[in-house]
Amino acid sequence: MTDTKADANPFGKLNYLVIDDFENFRLSIRQMLRSCGADSIELVSNASQAIQHCTYNHVDVVLCDFNLGEGKNGQHILEDLRYKKLLKRSSLFLMVTAETSKEMVMGAREYQPDAYLTKPINRAVLEKRLSALISQRNTLMPINREIDRENYPEAISLCLQMLPRQPRYKTWLMKTLGDLYFQLGDLAHALKTFDDVLAQRELSWARLGRCKVLLANRSFDQAVEGLRELIANHPDYMEAYDLLAEGFERQGRPTQAQQVLEKAIEHSPNALLRQKHLAQLAGSNQDLETSSEAWQRTIELGTHSIHDNSEHYLALGQALSDLSEGNLEEEGKEKAREALTVLKKMEKRFEAEEGISLRSQIVQCRVYAGQSQDKEATEILERIRPKLDNAAALDAATGLDYAKTLFRLGHESDAKALLREMSERFSNEPDILQKIESLLDEPVGFRQKIKARTLNRDGIKAFEAGNLQEAAEIFSKALEIVPDHAALNLNLVQVLMKENDNSPGDAELLKRCQTCLDRLAGLPEQHRQHRRYIALQRKLKGLMV
């Protein structure tokens, strides 16, 4: 060894930051660090001081208490520092907890501390733990430096070189290797890395890694099966639930995905990103009760988090608005009040964000309209209209939400004009187009939308059972609610044509078909139902000759 001095005192050269709200604890940690040979030690009592210090100083080792009283906790600080890159990968973050179990701390798993230290901590524990971590840090430094530089290929070759020489860090090296291959998109090598580990031993992190690769590889069924098994063996392995939900989604099974997330949240309710994922999923599953609860939790968890976002408030406001719409009972009124409160809170909290008040008022307008307070609704609409008239300047989310409000206040032609303009402007973005189509199909309130969808499903069932007349009746009923719904109109046309096949010559049937198709005359070419529309139109022409 050449650097004997550093070997003798591995603590000496490093910069430390101790974060704890109790002075006694800060002082006693400093005392312990000093007696281990540390020299440069900064003590702070809260998050903002910690972040401030890391902004202007290089820190090698952070010792942070998880529970810091009011305000941000240790996990928030970790997220903050890593997210803003104020703390390098090569720097150590140690979370000090009073908990023997890590559950409390397992919030957002995106960022994890390098180690947990459980109170009580004595000098001997600190010295052993820290010196092991420091020597690991020194050994792995060349790899982490390349990762900090985002030079992944170099990091990979360093990992490979180190593997046979450092059996002590084998787990770290294999995990990192699998991760790096995955990030580079080299799925074959990532898979091989995890398989190599699994060939020796069934380890849950490697199983999870393997499933993640399978998912990226579009082997959805294999991934889902692997994750189900993993959860059966490890019901407390939260990452597996998150990944399984993703797997179900990619398989096109959003209901199962939602159930998996709900299960995970039962175990561990404090992960913001998981709550957000559930909120979005439940929203698209039309389960607005679950969705609004999850948005509520997302907002609460966001109070001190780097992931806090005005979108969460807006989404909650929208969900509550939908829930309250047309419900003049006490329950509906309460939801409407909550919606207005959350929107007001958003305007205050994100004051500096451009257009935030406009976004808020677009939703407020619907809330009032849904409570039959037409005067308030109209007033707001008149106030915001001038700012929204230049349709070409609206982003997709604002435009869609505005169109929804226009529909709700009875300005149907304005809404349609806006959506037409948007579908041209966003013709290359299938996600946005799909949302525009859905809104055009169902420009009605949440409850009516659900009613129409249920009828549609019942109609399809009746059709499949061969009860044509019943199916036609049900579809017609649904169309009374959403007359412009493309798929529904075409469903009815198909039923009527089949009836016509069975008993030809009924001119009335074909006339009704024509009425349905006429409603879709303006269907744009890129619409998902366009081909079906053309095909049915051709068939009808053939029948009518």
Binding site: N24, S28, Q31, A98, E99, T100, S101, K102, T118, K119, P120, I121, N122, R123, A124, V125, E127, K128, R129, A132, P167, R168, K170, T171, R201, E202, L203, S204, W205, N233, H234, P235, D236, Y237, H267
Partner: protein
């Protein structure tokens, strides 16, 4: 107010959780007190008793919570690969102040091998076992680790009188074998045995062994992990 529908085990679990955290704070203060008043407290047997008994309660509560989660089917082993000598010496460091205070001599005798186990669960088991050894030893405790028959065997030996015949056994304990009438409930052994069983690999699973002898001639606790 007849059917309040109280989930009593849930209530117990959260109370235990709370007590455990309080004891953690208490132990922390004891450690600080000891280092602040090293000269006057170093040999104080009353202080040692205080710390020892607090440790014991803390361990019991940790085990209780573990067993609760086991009953809820919410405890599984997160097995990772660890360098065994590091694990043992880091682990022992926690007991150092008390061991020094009591004048007990400790040694670690571990092969340079990697083992597969859940760090947190095994920490719970070892805390309890070392605590027990502190109670029954005369002057020495020895931690051992090595590979035998394809298992990782971690042992805690002491130079006390050893386990009574009725406690010596091999394999796994079930919940019914707990005897709440005698002074020692063997809760710790039940926990250790459950943790061992959670460690499985293919058809093999872990177990504990209790016997007397070893290199110190006292009690020997062994946990065998596949």
């Amino acid at each position: 107010m007849k059917d309040q529908n109280i989930d009593f085990s849930m209530v117990l679990a959260s109370a235990v959780h709370d007590m455990k955290n309080s004891l953690g704070m208490l132990l922390n203060s004891l450690d600080e007190l000891r280092s602040e008043h090293e000269e006057s407290l170093g040999e104080s047997s009353r202080f040692n008793t205080l710390q020892y008994e607090a440790e014991r309660m803390h361990n019991d509560l940790v085990q209780l919570l573990g067993i609760y989660r086991l009953g809820e089917n919410n405890l599984s082993a997160h097995i990772e690969e660890h360098f065994v000598p590091d694990f043992l010496s880091e682990h022992l460091a926690r007991h150092n102040p008390l061991l020094q205070g009591l004048g007990i001599d400790v040694s670690v005798d571990a092969e340079d091998i990697n083992g597969f186990f859940d760090e947190d669960l095994l920490t719970g088991v070892l805390n309890n076992t070392i605590n027990n050894a502190i109670r029954y030893t005369r002057s020495r405790i020895r931690l051992t680790a090595g590979e035998r028959d394809g298992y990782l065997v971690i042992g805690v030996e002491d130079d006390g009188k050893g386990y009574p015949d009725s406690m010596q056994h091999t394999g796994t304990l079930n919940f019914k074998s707990l005897d709440f009438k005698s002074g020692s409930t063997s809760l710790g052994l039940f926990f250790a045995s459950s943790v061992a069983r959670l460690h499985s690999e293919g058809k093999r699973s872990g177990s504990i062994k209790l016997h007397n002898g070893g290199s110190l001639g006292g009690g020997v606790f062994e946990i065998w992990l596949p």
